[in-house]
Symmetry: C2
């Protein structure tokens, strides 16, 4: 069948940097003790590939005694960095520069006297790392969280980098209805994520069926799939080619493919190659 | 018929101060040349009453050569104050303290490097005065004005004091969708106006018919009438008792009365007294 790939998709510079640093660290390591604190990216296939090269994924600092620790692109809270320093392990920081910027801005806004509000998912490691940078920060995901907002106060607002501009705008509007005295909002959205979203939406309109490739835990991939679904009902979020239930291709002639920022090129290539090889049903 | 008056309605402190200053200035004046630059408040009845006491309303500074000039509660642009100073006339400044605050904030935000955005009606004198304080300020009233917003820039946002929190929130949400780098929003809404709105909405639900008293040019009265209409279809915006088409009272038992911030008490009293005197039809 005919396959169109979104103009912008797959690894963003932040993820590419994290993978490069992981490969470099593993190549130079002689101890056999290179750890990632949490999965280095939200992509099981890539995590498995790096595990075969020696990367050990742990979920808690207590599991690390020595060796080298990779800080993944989502970053970690300063308190965790301090715990690692106390242990004397080597730290390789692969935090995305844009995520670092959110952390820096949250600290700066707090110094300026603002109460920090983060628009995002409170369970996402990026958001948890930002919360760790700003004491008493409040995370709001949707309108049901608005009662958490401090009243009649100065609010300093940042956003999880992978949220959509639509979600950011909607929540700013909701905050705008609240009793605030002052609002300082720094646009911390990642342009890479926005470009992937725009590119995916435009592709959705040209195809019969749309595939969004990426980890099921990947916030930016899920957001991408959610958006695509709005523009093409026949949208499927797959981790890889093996996830595809081929019956959904029945009657479809043109497939669109996009992929989250944490989806490696080889995963995209396999899906595109295999779809291309299929006769149109 | 039974008449319920909104808990909060009529003159706000800013308007009361302007009227007090006008009366005091007229009482002390011996020249017979006391001017108001534009109607002192948006209420024809009160303007007529003060005209009988000697207040001359002019629409242009060119009409003033000497004497005393009252700056109304909506304020004027600094450039106009300068023109008056050049003429050597005495200036009595009755600009509402909250309007002065918007002007001060707009200037301060501009000094901090923000492009000024005013949410409000560009034809309203309060907004025009704020525009006069901040070079290249952009006024946005609704979504159709969003293309006026500077792109990828630092925006400093203030609001016309008499807008509703709903409108403020809606427009902040719309601005939040745009390509901004940073947003600093100061809540410049007047609490008096908000309290009048809340009080009117609660009254709307208890009455068969609702009267909103105030000048047809009065922004806060129009906003009040607009909101009441949403909560009680039988809402009528009247300037005074004479405006009332009595046929609308047919079948109504309980009337609600509210009034804008520029509506004098005597106008409210006449309406309430006359409605009270009517037999229920």
């Amino acid at each position: 069948m005919k396959v169109l790939v979104a103009e912008k998709c797959g690894f963003c510079p932040g993820v590419r940097n994290a993978i490069d640093l992981a490969e470099k660290t593993l190549a130079q390591d002689k101890s056999g003790m290179v750890y990632s604190l949490g999965p280095i990216i939200h992509n099981n296939d890539e995590v498995s590939r790096l595990a075969k090269l020696g990367l050990k994924t742990v979920n808690d600092i207590d599991e690390i005694e020595s060796g080298t620790v990779l800080i993944r692109s989502h970053g970690v809270a300063p308190e965790q960095i301090n715990r690692l320093k106390v242990k004397g392990v080597k730290i390789v920081d692969a935090t995305c520069v844009l995520v670092k910027r959110v952390q820096r801005i949250a600290k700066q806004l707090q110094r300026e006297g603002y109460k920090i509000v983060i628009i995002g998912d409170e369970n996402h490691p990026e958001v948890q790392a930002v919360v760790g940078c700003a004491k008493d920060a409040v995370v709001i995901t949707d309108e049901s969280d608005l009662d958490k907002l401090p009243q009649n106060d100065k609010l300093g607002v940042v956003c999880q980098t992978t949220q959509s501009p639509e979600q950011f705008g909607r929540m700013l509007g909701a905050i705008g209805h609240s009793n605030f005295n002052e609002l300082k909002v720094i646009n911390t959205l990642c342009k890479e994520a926005i470009n992937r979203q725009k590119s995916a939406i435009s592709l959705c309109k040209q195809v019969d069926i749309m595939f969004v490739l990426g980890g099921l835990e990947s916030a930016n991939t899920r957001k991408l799939a959610e958006l695509c679904k709005k523009h093409n009902m026949a949208t499927f979020h797959l981790q890889n080619w093996n996830d595809l239930d081929k019956s959904v291709l029945h009657g479809k002639n043109i497939a669109g493919v996009t992929a989250g920022a944490s989806t490696p090129e080889w995963i995209i290539n396999i899906l595109v190659h295999n779809l291309n090889s299929l006769d149109t049903w």
